[in-house]
Subunit: 403 residues, 2 copies
């Protein structure tokens, strides 16, 4: 019996409302001049006041030293073992643009790129506009393959989702994106353990990519596509079924909406800003027991390496928090899915600060919301997959285990 089965078996009903607010890539590293992280630098009167009336801690998305992608990090926050329930990049892309996947579907992430004299000179085709992307996807939709349906749909800028539909396709095939410039796009190859199904799948993918190259030949700069993250829809029990929850997701980016949908949440309408998200929360308050609110830009500015801009993003969220607190959720958790220190310009393995406010938690003397303070919090350092049981317990939704 897995921990998830155990928790699911104990789940009961309650009228209490839970909010999980994820500031993507929240955790950081100290600025060399001040010794303070982005979160510790930000002026966050609301988060600090919350920390004082919360129990705090640090969470590893997966475990010490492991830098997670956003998919597994969110799966963990939703209570799923992120290794057992790994969701492929292709699936996340396809779900993110609203493609419903079935058992015969094989999905991949596509990048438009620039190829000159046979080698890739720009892996993002100069970050073409989303409009150009849309036009090119329409053009590519003219391609038809024998024995398989193909669907390509634009994401933002140079990214698109590609789905092949046919019986017996395998996800055990390699990427064609060489991940650096100066190299030719790769051929799709069956992986050693993929068997005959992978061989047929690789043939189909290569035939499609050859046709795509012809169709895009006259375009510039986006005259080619590369693919990665071939994946099929995994079997994932819905958290709504597991725990008897009505769960709503308020996320602006396709991938996070996709993961939320995958675990059974309803994806709510929202505008792009955090203020819009607070509007959405207020509108939907009565309809759900559990809200997942995802704020993207802390991660984006961390990835840019822009320490000050990340600080500003945190301050923006803080300034809007009173609108959330007015709703007085019985259980409120605020954390990151992983750290994205501006100093590293990318995701990192560092645990994320967490605050959990509930009438039924102890206090721990933490005076401010920050990495150093939370590392001394009453919850200690634990793993993200354990957060949901803790939220459910505080909401009065878990029965006793054993007599």
């Amino acid at each position: 019996m897995s921990d998830m089965d155990l928790i699911s078996g104990l789940a009961g009903k309650s009228a209490s409302k839970m909010i999980l607010l994820v500031l993507d890539g929240l955790g950081g590293l100290p600025h060399p001049d001040t010794g303070l992280t982005e979160l510790e630098t930000a002026r966050t009167p609301n988060l600090d006041a919350l920390a004082r009336e919360s129990i705090c801690g640090m969470i590893h998305a997966i475990g010490p030293g492991i830098t997670p992608g956003s998919g597994p990090a969110h799966m963990a926050l939703f209570g799923y073992d992120p290794v057992r329930f790994e969701v492929g990049r292709g699936v996340l892309s396809a779900l993110g643009v609203g493609i419903e996947l079935g058992p015969d579907d094989l999905a991949a992430r596509v990048n438009f790129c620039t190829v000159e004299k046979g080698v890739i000179t720009d892996r993002r085709a100069g970050r073409i506009s989303t409009e150009t992307n849309q036009r090119l996807c329409e053009k590519l939709s003219s391609i038809s393959m024998e024995g398989a349906r193909v669907l390509i749909r634009p994401e933002k800028e140079h990214r698109a989702a590609l789905v092949f539909t046919a019986p017996g396709l395998s996800d055990r095939v390699s990427d064609t994106d060489p991940q650096k410039t100066g190299l030719a796009p790769l051929r799709c190859e069956p992986l050693p353990d993929g068997g005959e199904a992978a061989e047929r799948t690789a043939e189909l993918v290569n035939a499609y990519l050859d046709r795509a190259t012809e169709v895009l030949a006259d375009e510039h700069p986006a005259n080619m596509i590369v693919t990665r993250g071939f994946a099929k829809l995994p079997h994932i029990p819905k958290m709504t079924d597991l725990y008897g929850l009505r769960a709503g997701a308020i996320a602006t980016y396709p991938m996070y909406r996709a993961v939320a949908k995958l675990v059974g949440m309803e994806v709510l309408e929202t505008g792009p800003s955090f203020s819009d998200q607070m509007d959405a929360l207020n509108r939907s308050w009565e309809g759900y027991d559990y809200f997942f609110i995802h704020y993207k830009y802390t991660d984006s500015r961390g990835e840019d390496g822009d320490f000050e801009a990340k600080v500003s993003c945190i301050e923006e969220v803080d300034s809007q928090l009173p609108r959330l607190l007015e709703l007085d959720p019985e259980v409120l958790a605020i954390t990151g899915d992983h750290s994205t220190p501006a100093l590293l310009k990318g995701h990192s393995w560092h645990p994320s600060p967490l605050l959990l406010r509930s009438r039924w938690e102890r206090r721990d003397g933490v005076e401010a919301f920050g990495e150093t303070a939370c590392a001394r919090g009453g919850l200690g350092v634990f793993t993200a997959v354990q957060l949901l049981p803790l939220m459910l317990a505080n909401a009065g939704r878990l029965e006793k285990f054993g007599a």
Copy 2:
């Protein structure tokens, strides 16, 4: 290999003595007026002095958010994975009243109840006296069933243990206790996965309950019994065998004596008060390597929701501690099996404060024994199943792993 196999494989001998003192339901929640928990409110000079010369921490019985019953919580403290070694309520009841269980035995917990016009009006039959219970159990002992032996034995007040003995009985049958008044007692049903053995078992149980109803018809208020927690004895390796220990248990309540016996401890004679338990400890000191001392009333008063009474219980234990300390055990652990905050009037998921005193542990600057202080202790927050290895190591009983 499980962790238990690993630890067992490393176990060696030593003359050091270990004491595990469990204050049942020790952990609490802050009183709204003072911000202090029951333990933090209590005047505990001895526990506080101990904390200063100990290393402290917090332990989850099972994991974050999971509220345990007393059975699994104690199994964890004794070093057993509480999910893998789940012990059913019926087995705990039967062992608790001194019934030795074998492979053909199926045990259940019985409540005497009051039924009027077909529905239960009191699930505890007005908490009949233990003497009445004894008389009714004798009366019920007149019932004989074809193909099975039946044994019913009184616990305290309205509770009794019921054991059916026959080859091929199944524990996959449902409770007949509807868990609320105003409903008729349920019929015992085979669970979906129970197969033919469960069907036969349910028939036997229902036939017995029909006979019991006849036998009790003229009684008042206890004119019926309901059953729950049908269970067979699980296979549990003895901790005495696993670690080469002579272990003694000093517990006043049947259930804790039962769990101790189940893992191979000898149950020692003791009177009902903590002072009596200290007498028992002193009498038995030379005979054992490991003592489990169980103090019940912190949990009872927590369940009552009586904050002040729970504080007094903690103070009573503290006042008697010098008698334990005079024996100068090499390893002393004091903790709870789970929290029972007076504010919640029941078991809760909150981790239990722990102090571990040993000549071979580091110090951590914790100045008092309380939840807030222990959360900053040197052992951090961990799970109860990891306590026994730590105690064994401090007793010099664990060899090095690997070369």
